[in-house]
């Protein structure tokens, strides 16, 4: 019985196995990025990016029609431009990262809508770009996997400056110049992960599996390394349970996975060891003064 519910979907259908593999790969790459985004108060960057890529996708469409590669490349370039420009502005002026990102993504969206309207088409371009976790063919699966690999390697290289900068940017500035490059590389990683994530899995999953697990992890640890491990595990668990849920109940897979992650988040808010509601209301006996 239990085997039928939990394992049979994957042993009977290849597309379920591929979906699971994709979600594990996505979790490995997105988990750590999400944790850093949260620490830098940039959690909403994912949604902004989903809109910011429109002009690039539109130009790709104008140049070569409904060509997924051209549109993805265009989207990636637009995403990079927005991320870099907003990063530069917030570094060189007093404007905060979130505010400058919001400005740039809105401008980018406006340009995108204008370009689309010039062509006079009413195809929903972004809809074409957004994929589905159940539709993993070989190239897409490879892309998601290599994405995760590159992300982990690059993060390992810039780990130290990135951590220090997230926690104490002023200190880093006094001892090293690695802060700005690390930040820009990190922005680049976000864009690559998001755009590829959109293309492979759809917006909801790409952004959701980045942000929610980080939120969950925050309630269980104070240190970055365990936080990253918890985020990745939470993402993998949400992915697996969500796929099973989608298989058993007809909820579309993307929303199912994110719903499971949201439930985990709710549980963490209530019961989390670090700053959860209940532990705060009823502090354990071990906290004697």
């Amino acid at each position: 019985m239990l085997r039928e519910v939990l394992i049979a979907p994957f042993s009977d259908f290849e597309f379920m196995r591929r979906a699971l593999a994709a979600v594990v790969a996505l979790s490995l790459g997105s988990g750590p990025i999400g944790v850093f985004l949260m620490l830098r108060r940039m959690s909403l960057v994912g949604d902004a990016m989903a809109h910011a890529i429109l002009p690039g996708a539109a130009i790709g469409f104008l140049l070569s029609g409904l060509n997924l590669f051209a549109m993805t490349t265009g989207g990636m370039i637009a995403g990079f431009a927005v991320a870099l420009l907003s990063g530069l502005v917030s570094r060189s002026t007093g404007l905060k990262e979130d505010a400058s990102l919001a400005t740039f993504y809105l401008a980018s969206l406006a340009i995108g809508v204008t370009i689309v309207s010039v062509k006079g088409t009413n195809i929903d371009l972004l809809h074409v770009l957004f994929g589905n976790i159940l539709a993993m063919d070989d190239p897409t699966l490879l892309m998601v996997a290599s994405n995760a690999t590159i992300t982990l390697v690059v993060l390992a290289v810039i780990y130290r400056p990135l951590v220090v900068e997230s926690v104490d940017p002023l200190f880093l500035r006094t001892v090293s110049r690695a802060g700005a490059p690390a930040h820009l590389i990190f922005l680049g990683l976000i864009v690559v992960n998001l755009v590829n994530g959109f293309q492979a899995l759809g917006t909801l999953l790409a952004v959701g599996l980045m942000i929610l697990p980080a939120g969950i992890a925050r309630f269980w640890s104070r240190d970055i390394t365990p936080m990253i491990c918890i985020a990745v595990s939470a993402a993998i668990v949400s992915g697996y349970v969500g796929l099973v849920l989608s298989f058993q109940t007809r909820i579309p897979s993307g929303p199912a996975i994110i719903l499971v992650a949201s439930l985990l988040y709710l549980g963490s808010v209530l019961f989390g060891r670090v700053g959860g509601v209940l532990p705060q209301l009823f502090p354990g006996r071990h906290l004697e003064a």
Binding site: P9, D12, F13, E14, F15, M16, R18, A19, H127, G131, N132, L134, A135, M136, D137, T140, G202, L243, S246, F247, Q248, T249, R250, I251, P252, S253, G254, P255, A256
Partner: protein
Amino acid sequence: MSMHKRLLPVLSLLLGLVIATPASAETRPNVVTSFSILADFVRQVGGDKVSVTSLVGPDSDVHVYTPTPHDAKDVGAAQLLIVNGLGLEGWLPRLQQASGSKAPIVVATQGITPRKRGSDADPHAWQSVGNAMVYVRNIRDALVAADPADAVVVKANAARYLAELDALDREVRAEIEKIPAERRKVISTHDAFGYFAEAYGIQFIAPLGVSTETEPSARDVAEIIAQVRKARIPAVFLENFNDDRLVGRIAAETGARIGGTLYSDALSEEKGPVPTYIAMVRHNIRALTSALVR
């Protein structure tokens, strides 16, 4: 001087030609049709005796069309409106009212017994070539009534075109004969081929529990795969699924072939693959046979 006298008749003849050409163009009835397939029928039957405008152009979906002010202008200038009927053009009464047009409306499906789809009629009657011939006769009669002066030409055009359609009908049946009887079924999200299926005996099986508008769940995909495996459906035509990678996955897991594009509601541009109705039917039957014939 004598030269001029001899030239005069020639000149006046030329002048007459120059004047006559636009004059005859003005008398050509202005026919407005609701979508591109009807426009093709009118063009075939009317030839150069009519000028045809289609409100919903090539490559556009008549189901989701919303009229523009420009369309109201076209309708206002029309002497004859030709529509499909059977509930396809729900927007037409309002458009005609807005345009102030007094042009008669001809329903091309007059005399066709509609298939029921749920409680509504299925409007895609043109997908059976036999029905298309009814369309053409209705359009012929409407054009003759609108412009009796050109009746002879219109009737001759219609007779020629009807003969072509008749040959096309036989061609489609002959093509279907090549498919082994147990392989005459496809799984398809198209809801436009009811009349085609009925006339030519190819089963169009809708995938279970899937609407193309919403994201499919894992269960939906699993059920389609189980359905295709169980009924041994040899080909999937799911091109209006929102993700063709998903169709690829379904095909890979069932061993079914992926069918090509089926055109249902609109012709393509002049240079596209299906500029006319006959080209469209040929294209569809080729897509079906190449996926179904072993």
